[in-house]
Symmetry: C2
Subunit: 319 residues, 2 copies
């Protein structure tokens, strides 16, 4: 099972978008820029910086342009912005964002609830956005929200998910994210869907975006790895991610993910120590505890000194 895992895993950070958007307090622009600049030094593949949404819809990200202009883009990191419509795309093009992330729910009712559009309308919009950005170096990632289940409708048919991937690719999108928006995925389902995607598109650039709402985030990563997937979104400290139930966690936690991958002998190129430092800083920024576990328990490799009484017992050779 573990012998066939991909050896090199890409980790994408979404905390400054997915995490900050649902925080009770606005995080100051300068603080966002500092955090993003620090994260960009840690070997993450992508950083989803912000969202070019209406400031009215998401007041916490009203400084999207300032943040995107303010960060130092001198690393290999791919800089991503979430874009809900043509207006957002125009803003992204103006700022020469590396990649935009377009989101539609697999479930019709969730797309209506979340985007106030039918899936058809979303796809038409993505076609126009693809036209707008044709000929520019900006890449288009298409996210499929509720790919593993919808809180209103429940399970989504595999063929429907695959059909929308087709629709994305036909409209010129370059890569795909399968998102478990409300934490409904279970490992065997993840394995089956990932296998189905791999069977149809062996070379497609796919990201898995899991939430830990029901405690299954890292188990689902494991299942995706078993199906050959090698790219995952995560949020520093486990912040954010549409937690619709009080106390339930959202996105899987970046440092918990990287810790698991490294300890299983897989490579990410990401500095776990660096993540833990920034996670500590993040809990100061948001002024509350974070759901991540490694920030509290420490990496498993960090052993503790033997208590003195035990040292004496061991020196005596007996109790």
């Amino acid at each position: 099972m573990f012998a066939h895992f991909p050896q090199q895993i890409r980790v994408n950070e979404v905390v400054t978008r997915d995490g900050f958007q649902s925080e009770p307090a606005f995080v100051p622009t300068e603080t966002k820029i500092e955090l993003i600049n620090a994260l960009a030094r840690l070997g993450l593949s992508k950083v989803e910086v912000t969202s070019f949404v209406s400031p009215r819809a998401v007041p916490n990200l009203r400084d999207a342009e300032e943040v995107m202009r303010g960060i130092t883009r001198d690393t290999d990191t791919t800089w991503v912005a979430l874009v809900p419509n043509e207006k957002g795309c125009a803003r992204a093009l103006e700022l020469a964002v590396d990649e935009i992330n377009l989101v539609m729910s697999v479930s019709e009712s969730h797309n209506l609830a979340n985007m106030r559009m039918t899936c058809d309308q979303s796809l038409q919009q993505f076609a126009r956005i693809a036209e707008m950005s044709a000929g520019t170096p900006m890449r288009l990632n298409g996210s499929l929200a509720t790919a593993f289940g919808c809180p209103f409708e429940g399970a989504q048919a595999t063929e429907r998910v695959l059909g929308f991937i087709d629709a994305y690719l036909e409209r010129g999108l370059h890569s795909i994210t399968l998102a478990d928006t409300t934490g409904m995925a279970v490992p065997n389902q993840v394995y089956d869907l990932c296998q189905a995607v791999r069977a149809r598109w062996p070379e497609l650039d796919v990201t898995l975006h899991f939430h830990n709402t029901r405690g299954l985030g890292l188990s689902n990563v494991l299942a995706a790895l078993a199906a050959g997937m090698d790219q995952f979104d995560a949020s520093l400290g486990g912040l954010g991610g549409c937690p619709f139930a009080p106390g339930a966690t959202g996105n899987i936690c970046t440092e918990d993910l990287v810790h698991m991958l490294h300890e299983m002998g897989l490579n990410t190129g990401v500095s776990l120590d660096g993540l833990l430092q920034q996670s500590q800083r993040l809990s100061e920024i948001v002024a509350h505890d974070l759901p991540g576990q490694i920030g509290k328990a420490g990496p498993r490799g960090r052993t503790r000194p033997l208590p003195e009484s035990v040292q004496q017992l061991m020196q005596n050779g007996r109790t």
Copy 2:
């Protein structure tokens, strides 16, 4: 990978022992008895009721005899008590406990720190306990703590773990628990150790006891299932489990485990609804929030009603 999972899984509940022992407040005897009687109706394979330790060492379990005498033992559940020494064994025999759980750490230093004994001394004691209980119907389970790593010494050699299983079986113990005492296990390690145990003892009755300290509890269950293991300890609400770091969780949560297993199509015979009711009751008993996720987010199958605005959009057929 998932095709070869065992289809019938046994779930053992440890909350009234592993959970209550480290709570700040003593849980009244009557409350313990009520909770255990309710749990015994839910289809759990074993319930680890209490621990026959010195009341000075674990004041929270000072009512061990009263609890064991007070519960209604009329279900198929195996009633277990943890026993640290011959005196505890005598108490268990007097009360006709179904099974006692004997614990030694794989790591010498951890055994010294925890039990104030060398591993050799622990094994000698287990031999005496096996003699004491020979000819009685009481079964002996041997737990190997720190089987997946010691907080002082780090990794433990597979051969050392297997050697202690041998030592347990030679001394007449009937079944084995591999315990990840401080949450150091990672999935590929779990898979490898479980495979090694299965290869040597295909028919041995083995339980896996995982902690979620580093967020990997259910991922480790998945790895154990992949290696053919079919029996797991868990604690209602995720209570307890030697959490040595503030905020870090302990035992894997029974309802989160059962939810995962059921949603993957595996059978446990355990009532998830019943667990969720008792977990709710448990958070009232201990008067604090519990780490379990399903208690907060609800099972994935429990869909929510469509918001009225979305119903209207769907009836109109367009936005």
